[in-house]
Every structure is written in structure tokens, then in C-alpha cells.
């Protein structure tokens, strides 16, 4: 139980930290350690291997680089701070972060760039005098995020400041040409979008991946306009704002029985099933609304078949309420009403429907020990798993679905990047397996 209370504590802490994200940084690694640079100082990320060597400069100046017409100098941070430099093969590109400082633009080479991380500035702590590798005066603070400690570099101090670095002389010539160089809007937009993706994951456990990127992108454009008219910052600062952002993501009839129109759409795309047994998998079933709807639909369409629905969720509270869910008849679609029966506590589905469904407390990322199924309905499930788990589940769905089976995912989710063929005629997001010839 101590583990449980620890996780609760951790969650509470994570929540507390998540509440105020007001400092964003681009993170990268140098000599195996994690570092961050204030996003406001970062112009862009680039990769290249060709730098023009400039003689008579310190070793850490790798040369100059042509950034779309602007000549900027490139500094190898690892050499500058006497860290281990991994030898790159001939022609292998270096990872660069292009910095926009108050008086110039320059590029730094790092081992690898990571991502944009948002933290609360309250959590940034002053540097400890024992941080060996890099002179303490160049560090503006340290911050922990997702169990990783990031050292935040003060790039203005490193490259600006009184210390006249030799390479600055060459730069000054070109800096004058580009005073206040504006960030190209495309790149700014990408950073904004990345940051929104980051906050969605923190607040709502929603992960932006190829499965939902199209929706996120269009929602982002809409959101931008909406926030502009209200004169508000585009970023999501609270879980409530993240909720608002995701409002239009959820598929129709989330947390309620599927409506007749939706059931009709499913009916249209159901293939011809040869077998006398029909099995359905409903991962992430929540309180079981989809499972009940599917049970009724299939019972109506195939009264003679043996129907089995495997419904699972890892939310204990939701899944335990599923088998005894009470319905208000006025909320039940017409076609399902015949399956309702009045019990002691209110209306429930008849046992001929209930008996078709097996509700399980189960984490779909663990092994799924049931036989192959004809239909999978997993709406808005994938998007709430991190990319790696998403891909694992997509493979699992592929393995569990029979060759002529059908997969229904969230209306705003797509599987075009994967081994699946969309069912074109459907108004809902349905897929078939791409079978190998």
C-alpha cells in the first residue's frame, strides 16, 4: 500500500506542477546530461554537416554556416565546455540549435535535441555550486521534469556579456543586417503546436500522434483565431482549458448509448459474417455504453448467432459500474428500447443482452487473452496512449481482428499511417486490415 500512497502523492505533485506552466524550454543533451534553453532564445532547430572553417579562431568555433542567406557562426558547446565529443562519420549531420540572442544570431552544436518542455518557473532552482562540467555562472537554474533533471543554460551570458568571444567579431558584421529578425511564422507555429501537444499530454493524457494529428492541426488553427478574438494567449494553462481544446475531439455519443444514426452507419459497413459466432472487442469501454449498444445492434441483426463482447477498461470505478448500469428510458435510442427491462432500481438491459457482454477490469497493454474477434470498437482510445503504446495497441488490434473483420475508431482518429485500409463509404472512422497477398 505504501506504493499506492506514493503514486497518489506523486500524482498530486505532478498535478500541482502542471497547474502553472509559464516557462518553456528546448531541451537537448550534452555529454549524456540533459540541458534546456529558454524557448524565447531559440529561433529554430537545424541539422547540417557542412560548416565553413574559419582560421585563427578558438577550437570550439566550428565555422560559419549559411542559414538561408544569413551567415552565422557555429559553436560546438561540447568543445566549449570541455565535454566528450562523439565523433561523427563523414557527412553525418550535427544537431544544431539556432539561438536568437539580444544582439546576434548564432548556432550551437549539441549531442541531440530532445523536445520542448514546459515547467513552472517556480520550480526552477538556483544552480548548485557542484555542477562540474559547465561554469556555474553560465547556468540560470535547474529544474526537474518527468524525473529528469534539466540544467538551464543562460545563453545570453555565455555568448553575450562582457567576455568578448573572438568569434563575435565576425558576427557583428552580419548581425547589423538582420536587426530584430522576426521568427518566421511557420516555425513559431510549429513550436506553439508542439507546446500545446505537450500540455495536452500533461493535463489530459492526450498524445498528439499521426492518429490524431490532422484533427489537432485544424483544431489548433481554429483555437488560434478563437483565442485571438478574446485577446488571450494561445497556450493552454489549466486542465480546464485543455478540456475546452479537446471538446470537439470526442466522437459522437461519448459516455452515452450510440444513437440510431450512428448504429445505422455501423450497420452499413458490417461485412458478411460466415461464422455462427460473432465476437466483439471493446477496449476502453468505460461504463460500457458502446458495449451495450453493440450488443443490442448485433442481437437485432443476427438473432441466431452466438454473440460475445469482450469489454475492458483499466478505470476500476467505471468498469465496476458497467454491469449494473441504470438507464433513463428517454435517453435510450428507439431501436434499443425493446431490450430494456424495469428492475428494482430502474431500467436496465435485459439479461439476454447483459449476458452477451463480459466486462473486465483489464489493462489492454498487458496481454489480451481472448480469441480473435470480428469487430473491434475502440473510439478515442488510441489518442489517450503515448505513441509507443499506441503503436503497440495498433499491432495488437491487427493481430486480434479476423481477416474480414472491422475496426471502428474515434471520428477524429486516422490510421492511414499504418497497415489499415479505411472503409471509404462510412461516415464513421472505420478500417479493415490490409491483408498480405
Amino acid at each position: 500500500m505504501s506504493t499506492v500512497s506514493v503514486t497518489i502523492k506523486e500524482e498530486a505533485e505532478a498535478k500541482k506542477q502542471a497547474e502553472l506552466i509559464d516557462y518553456k524550454m528546448v531541451t537537448f543533451s550534452l555529454g549524456g546530461k540533459d540541458y534546456g534553453i529558454d524557448i524565447m532564445k531559440v529561433k529554430e532547430i537545424a541539422k547540417d554537416s557542412e560548416f565553413t572553417y574559419v582560421p585563427n579562431t578558438p577550437a570550439y568555433v566550428r565555422g560559419v554556416y549559411n542559414l538561408r542567406g544569413d551567415i552565422i557562426s557555429i559553436i560546438d558547446l561540447r568543445l566549449m565546455f570541455n565535454l566528450y565529443v562523439e565523433k561523427k562519420k563523414e557527412g553525418e549531420p550535427e544537431n544544431m540549435i539556432i539561438l536568437r540572442l539580444s544582439n546576434n544570431i548564432l548556432g550551437v552544436i549539441v549531442d541531440s535535441t530532445d523536445k520542448v518542455v514546459g515547467v513552472s518557473s517556480e520550480n526552477i532552482q538556483p544552480p548548485h555550486p557542484l555542477f562540474g562540467d559547465i561554469n556555474i555562472k553560465y547556468i540560470s537554474g535547474v529544474v526537474e521534469h518527468n524525473n529528469r533533471l534539466y540544467i538551464i543554460l543562460d545563453v545570453e551570458r555565455i555568448f553575450g556579456g562582457e567576455e568578448e568571444l573572438p568569434e563575435e567579431r565576425e558576427e557583428k558584421a552580419e548581425v547589423e543586417e538582420v536587426p530584430g529578425y522576426p521568427i518566421p511564422s511557420e516555425e513559431k507555429e510549429e513550436l506553439d503546436l508542439n507546446f500545446i501537444a505537450d500540455t495536452l499530454a500533461t493535463f489530459k493524457g492526450f498524445y498528439v500522434t499521426p492518429v490524431n494529428y490532422d484533427w489537432v492541426k485544424s483544431r489548433f488553427d481554429e483555437w488560434k483565431g478563437y483565442r485571438k478574438t478574446r485577446n488571450e494567449d494561445i497556450q493552454l494553462r489549466t486542465p480546464e482549458e485543455a478540456d475546452e481544446f479537446l471538446l470537439s475531439f470526442y466522437s459522437p455519443y461519448t459516455e452515452e448509448l450510440l444513437g440510431d444514426d450512428f448504429l445505422d452507419e455501423i450497420k452499413k459497413i458490417l461485412p458478411k459474417f460466415e461464422s455462427k459466432t460473432l465476437s466483439v472487442w471493446n477496449p476502453g469501454c468505460g461504463k460500457g455504453f458502446e458495449s451495450y449498444s453493440m450488443a443490442c445492434l448485433l442481437k437485432t441483426l443476427y438473432p441466431e448467432s452466438r454473440i460475445k463482447i469482450w469489454a475492458n477498461d483499466k478505470d476500476l470505478l467505471n468498469i465496476t459500474s458497467a454491469p449494473n448500469l441504470i438507464f433513463q428510458p428517454e435517453n435510450v435510442p428507439e431501436s434499443l428500447k425493446i431490450f430494456l427491462a424495469e428492475g428494482r432500481n430502474g431500467y436496465q438491459f435485459k439479461s439476454e443482452i447483459k449476458d452477451l457482454i463480459l466486462f473486465e477490469f483489464h489493462d489492454i497493454l498487458n496481454q489480451n487473452p481472448f480469441p480473435d474477434v470480428d469487430i473491434i470498437i475502440a473510439r478515442d482510445v488510441l489518442s489517450f496512449l503515448p505513441l509507443q503504446d499506441q503503436e503497440k495497441l495498433i499491432k495488437e488490434l491487427e493481430q486480434k481482428l479476423k481477416p474480414n473483420g472491422i475496426l471502428i475508431i474515434g471520428n477524429n482518429e486516422r490510421l492511414t499511417e499504418y497497415n489499415w485500409i479505411p472503409v471509404e463509404e462510412a461516415k464513421i472512422s472505420a478500417y479493415k486490415r490490409k491483408l498480405e497477398e
Binding site: M1, S2, T3, V4, S5, T7, I8, K314, L316, I319, T320, A322, P323, L358, F359, E360, F361, H362, D363, N366, Q367, P369, F370, P371
Partner: protein, 154 residues
């Protein structure tokens, strides 16, 4: 794990422990696990068969086992001797049997095997293809993790 199975196990564990130990029993948050898990030192196993297949494992530290056995026998045991082991076995049997009785009332038919007890350091338990429900129970004597891994017969 089928939702209907969860409560009988949780309730049975809670009731039996409260009754035999007459102590403050607290239940932790339930969770699922599918990877190999360390065993704390003393593990009593009861097998299940019938509508399902699987097993229930009662896992605790050696000092917890000794303390519980001492309370149940109303005498201070120094080590987990035959009497102590028999006591832990009996505890496992009582909890599982009560859960199975509750399940029987709900219409599920289970049979159980006699409990066996395993003791030792640095042990792990792995269940191929079944995920385990962990019911952590906190007692003044220490903690018992009740680890239920069952699956439907298909």
C-alpha cells in the same frame, strides 16, 4: 479480470482478516500487473478451476507472517514453524473459500485446490498470459498483497 470477481475477493479478504486479527484493516488501491513480480518472502497459493482458471497468491514478509500467525494462535511464535505455516495456509484457505462462496451465490462455479505455502528470499512470480489483480491490505502487522490471476476459460 471479470468485474464481478473483484468484489468477492476484496470483501472476503477484508472480512476474514478483520475477524481473525480483530485489528484495524485498511485496503489500498487495487491495480493490475502483468510482469513478473517480486514475492515478499512468504507466499500462500490457492489454485482455482471451474468457470475460470488461475490462482490466488497471498504474499507477505516473513515478519508479517510470524506476527499474524502469533495473533491467530494466541501465542508468540519465534519463527515460522509448522504451526505458523499451517496457520497462514488456513488464512489463505479461509479468504479464498469465502470469496468462492460469494461467487457461487452470484452464479459462478469455482473449485479450489488445497493451499500450498512457499517461503524464501528473492523470489518472483510470473503468470504467462494472465494479468494479476493486486489487492493490497495494510495491517498493523505489516502488509499482505493478495494477487489474483484468473482468466475465463475460452
Amino acid at each position: 479480470m471479470r468485474v464481478e470477481y473483484i468484489n468477492p475477493f476484496v470483501e472476503a479478504a477484508f472480512n476474514v482478516l478483520k475477524e481473525v486479527l480483530d485489528e484495524n484493516v485498511k485496503r489500498g488501491e487495487l491495480y493490475l500487473k502483468s510482469t513478473s513480480q517480486p514475492v515478499l518472502g512468504v507466499a500462500a497459493i490457492v489454485g482455482l478451476a471451474g468457470d475460470v482458471e488461475g490462482r490466488v497468491l497471498f504474499d507477505m514478509r516473513m515478519d508479517t507472517a510470524i506476527a499474524i500467525a502469533s495473533v491467530m494462535n494466541s501465542e508468540k511464535l519465534e519463527k515460522l514453524d509448522d504451526l505458523g505455516k499451517a496457520t497462514i495456509n488456513e488464512l489463505a484457505n479461509m479468504i479464498t473459500a469465502q470469496a468462492v462462496t460469494k461467487l457461487h451465490d452470484l452464479g459462478f462455479k469455482f473449485d479450489l485446490t488445497p493451499p500450498s505455502i512457499i517461503t524464501g528470499e528473492n523470489m518472483e512470480v510470473t503468470d504467462q498470459g494472465v494479468e494479476a489483480l493486486i489487492v493490497p491490505i495494510e495491517l498493523p502487522q505489516g502488509k499482505i498483497e493478495i494477487n489474483v490471476a484468473v482468466r475465463e476459460r475460452t
